[in-house]
Symmetry: C2
Amino acid sequence: MSLASRPDIISFAGGMPGNELFPVDEVEELFRGLDLKTRQAAFQYGPTPGLPSLLESLGGFLEKKGLPVQKNRLMITTGSQQGLSIVAKAFVDPGDRVLTEYPCFIGAIAAFRSAGAKIVPIPVDEEGLDIAMLRLEAARPDPAKFLYITPYFHNPAGMLYSSQRKRELVEALQGRNIPLIEDDAYGDLWFHEEDRERLKPIKALDPEGIDVCYLGSFSKILGPGLRLGWLLAPPAIYEKCELIKQSADACSPSFTQVIADAFMRSGQIDSYIASVRQQYRLRASAMAAGLRKCLPDYVRWNEPKGGFYIWLTLPEGTDAAEILKHAIDGGVVFVTGSTFDPEGRRTNAIRLSYCNNTPEEIERGIPIVASAIRTVCG
Amino acid sequence: MSLASRPDIISFAGGMPGNELFPVDEVEELFRGLDLKTRQAAFQYGPTPGLPSLLESLGGFLEKKGLPVQKNRLMITTGSQQGLSIVAKAFVDPGDRVLTEYPCFIGAIAAFRSAGAKIVPIPVDEEGLDIAMLRLEAARPDPAKFLYITPYFHNPAGMLYSSQRKRELVEALQGRNIPLIEDDAYGDLWFHEEDRERLKPIKALDPEGIDVCYLGSFSKILGPGLRLGWLLAPPAIYEKCELIKQSADACSPSFTQVIADAFMRSGQIDSYIASVRQQYRLRASAMAAGLRKCLPDYVRWNEPKGGFYIWLTLPEGTDAAEILKHAIDGGVVFVTGSTFDPEGRRTNAIRLSYCNNTPEEIERGIPIVASAIRTVCG
């Protein structure tokens, strides 16, 4: 049994929604209410790009975010992990460079590596990617195959790109022949109305001179166990991706596509997102309050604005693995920052997830993390 | 709308189970009867190799077929198409040769090509693979990366390997360092008790000196829309495959894994397989009766013993695409043989599926196929 699933351990490790938040009864009732033909279709193969009815309802959902659904093509993927794997395969030949953030989502690192990519990590601060470094990379004579970013409640860094930083990023890429992979798995989980302008996808700005592939997921707004994500891409890229998906798994599960479609068409997705947003805000507040109270001043972190994560930056040279050992002795587990470094070198950071804990567990757990930090860093 | 889904056309094209055969009500009732914790887990991420409970129940199901589950490792895949894609990625570097049958399942051709394989097709007759040709290939100094076969109610050739041919195949591979990929998607759909000995998987013989990877699927014994298959492989191969799956889609859908597990543990899988076996036997009999009555003598085909398909071999030089045109004019569609030729050259064959038609539709459709053949071949 892994530490993270031991009942005597408080886990701030996983990026999993809380099991108690899933709309189990609602989905059962929705499925029961479908006509026989639709329920039978749930057991059958579907088209490789996804069930037409879901593509339509999801298309409407994405258009409400301002995304250019009509000018692009939409594909259902088996989780957004498959979206990453397909995009990597579409763009990368072994040895090609791709640009990512540091820190970077580990699923993306795995997918890009699996396609043979050489990963070039560019650091982020609390407003987004380091633009000076991006400009240097973009100016190289052999351009990278794409830039991958998760600008909205970043995993693991927790931060939200500023509108200004997004504009600078677009300018740095324009005309450079470097497609942008924009991963928006957490954008619906905002905590404050005033941040909504910053959540507008770059894909929705439809910037000229850049191919933008937009990835999203039902994992955080319905359930990861359905394994449903999506890819919105320009037609020429989409066509390549469809062939890759065909050979990867023929089609995503019709069963869960039928469920997701019913969930969207019933309108329950909106009320469900509103309710989990509220839950995650409570959890984030509890963790932020604990950190404010207990952390030594030399630890940098930023108040979460949405999503699942808080990222702690420790003094240069700190070995977060040492802190983790002490935290486990105290009964708390988390993920160390080097996990999210494509080069595995930066050791002075910690990712804390608040998504899967009650506020009470968080209040008990944070002093243990703080104490472990003091033990190692003084 | 594709021809195959037009209501005025009788389609012998698809390899899809009949929608009316799916156990829709049974699965709904099973899911409703599960405890809350299990239903919540259906919405959550699961381990990459599959939900432990399903691995256990499926392991028991496979052990009843004599498969060496304990000596190997079992992994759930997102349909057996993902199993093919993973195996290809595990073994093949671009330019490597792999051996397949001719004709060959098109999903396998797509997956192997996607990994960069050069496909070497070896013909099958009504007893299995051409062993002389296999021996020549196996003796080459640079051995192929694997041999892929579908010995049980072959798609598209419909045939069932003889026990003798399987033994010869094993002898030809032993000590040659060519792993065997044995795809058994249809083996449960046998029509005659006396064929059961021939259905024993090569993997169950546990032959020395060959690595055998055994692929299977819930697609034909529950529903393809669940996207659940499996891979039983020696530990060293399994480990490589697990990493590949991790980056491909993190895990297969927990939702449908929970369903498949409940379906197996309730024992309903056995009664369900028995009932669809009976249905497909009726359909196969109707098609065989029609072919016996209507086909000219120069068309070779073999009485189906199980599975979904009958394969017609036309006189050398016949262009089956011409026959298809006439058949469509008459109101029937099917798939021409060149689709299943990795080299796309052999044009004198036709695949007829009986899985998705009532006996009445089959009785109406077969004379139209026969008439189209006579129009082209005389």
